[in-house]
């Protein structure tokens, strides 16, 4: 039998899902495209580029591998640092070598997971912070052209956060011995893809 609290949580989750499913119809009826379109283009942006997607999953994997406090510091601080990078992108300020650094971030973060690298917390946070600024910059540069800029921002923050959660969820396999190898292998796959992406950018 299902625990009462679990059932209540499921009911709330069901209501939220239902609300989200029903959402677009009235919103679209009031202002064609605006809110929904902005949200979807923002949500899709981190998912459309393999470099963003792999790097964000790698952040989650690495966080889970490092354990507390890195595991919870990353999802809490990453979006804010990313938003500061996004601010640079929105304002159109210059940031050197955006595409190469983003490709390199997939390579380096993947390699860190593969090697189960455990640097000092400050080093890990600084490294991830620099990459957060670059990823935010790339998403932010697209924001001024969005149908609804707030909805675009909400979409890309939500999808980036979801990618972290996916990474952390996979990374939690780390607590079993066989899982450690699975997590490191996933890091290896991301690192190899990073090599390809970096070579493609620098070509």
């Amino acid at each position: 039998m299902m625990h009462g609290r679990t059932r209540a949580t499921l009911r709330v989750a069901g209501a939220v899902v239902m609300g989200v499913c029903l959402w677009p119809s009235p919103a679209a009826a009031h202002e064609p495209g605006g809110l929904a379109e902005g949200f979807l283009s923002g949500f899709g942006h981190p998912l459309s580029g393999l470099d963003h997607m792999l790097a964000m999953v790698a952040v989650g994997l690495w966080g889970a591998q490092l354990g507390a406090p890195a595991m919870w510091l990353l999802p809490v601080t990453f979006p804010l640092v990313m938003a500061l990078g996004g601010l640079l992108g929105v304002r159109g300020l210059f940031l050197p070598a955006v595409e190469p650094v983003i490709a390199a971030s997939a390579l380096l973060l993947g390699a860190a997971v593969l090697l189960a690298w455990r640097p000092m917390l400050a080093v890990a946070l600084a490294l991830v912070g620099v990459f957060a600024v670059y990823h935010g910059y790339a998403h932010g540069a697209e924001l001024p052209g969005a149908a609804d800029q707030l909805a675009y921002g909400a979409g890309f923050v939500l999808s980036t956060g979801t990618l972290h959660v996916v990474g952390i969820a996979i990374g939690l396999l780390h607590r079993w011995t066989w899982g450690t190898m699975v997590v490191r292998a996933a890091g290896g796959v991301i690192a190899v893809a990073g090599v390809y992406l970096l070579a493609d950018v620098l070509r």
Partner: protein, 192 residues
């Protein structure tokens, strides 16, 4: 809390159907939907609810009541005053501020929580109430705004109060940080 669980879904689907059948109810639904379909209001309401939910039980309950009352009064006053306002900057600043407080997860003094709740409710009440047009019935529109604020904040308080597991507490903090991040980005776009 679960008894009102289906309200947002119902609110999202019903107005289009009901508006034309019951005369005058359109203004109520316009008020109800206005804060919920604008990202800067919706996310700030969620954030202030999470902040209240992170506090002691009594503080959270009084903050919820205070929020709805201030929202009702300020929206009514702004609607009666009837002037177009440009509050994008302060609205987004409130979103960033409250989001950061949720991410920090401090147990604040009760007075600080009430001050914060009052300021946010007044700002968002004025911004929502100012959207009232002469053709609308002010009481119905303002009642809709207050109900939307009540429902959204109740959800958020409930979620934060239920976050007992360590990961759930982190999820609440992450939500605050995500809301602040959206505010920072939108602020960049608005003030460009």
């Amino acid at each position: 809390m679960t008894d009102v669980a289906w309200l947002p879904a119902a609110a999202a689907s019903v107005p289009v159907l009901v508006a034309h059948i019951v005369p005058g109810v359109t203004d109520f639904y316009a008020g109800l939907l206005h804060p919920v379909t604008a990202v800067e209001h919706l996310l700030t309401f969620v954030a202030i609810g999470l902040l209240a939910g992170q506090q002691a039980r009594g503080v959270a309950r009084r903050a919820l009541t205070l929020f709805v009352c201030v929202l009702l009064v300020t929206a009514g006053l702004a609607g009666a005053h009837g002037r177009t306002l440009h509050l994008e900057g302060p609205l987004l600043a409130s979103m960033v501020g409250v989001g950061c407080l949720v991410a920090a997860n401090w147990r604040l003094p009760a007075a600080a929580v009430y001050t914060c709740v009052t300021a946010v409710a007044a700002l968002h009440g004025v911004a929502n109430g100012a959207e009232l047009t002469p053709a609308m019935a002010p009481v119905r529109f303002v009642a809709g705004i207050a109900l939307a604020g009540f429902v959204v904040m109740t959800y958020a308080v409930g979620l934060a109060r239920r976050a007992e597991a360590p990961w759930a507490g982190v999820a609440v903090r992450a939500a605050g940080s995500w809301i602040a991040a959206v505010g920072v980005l939108a602020w960049g776009a608005v003030t460009r």
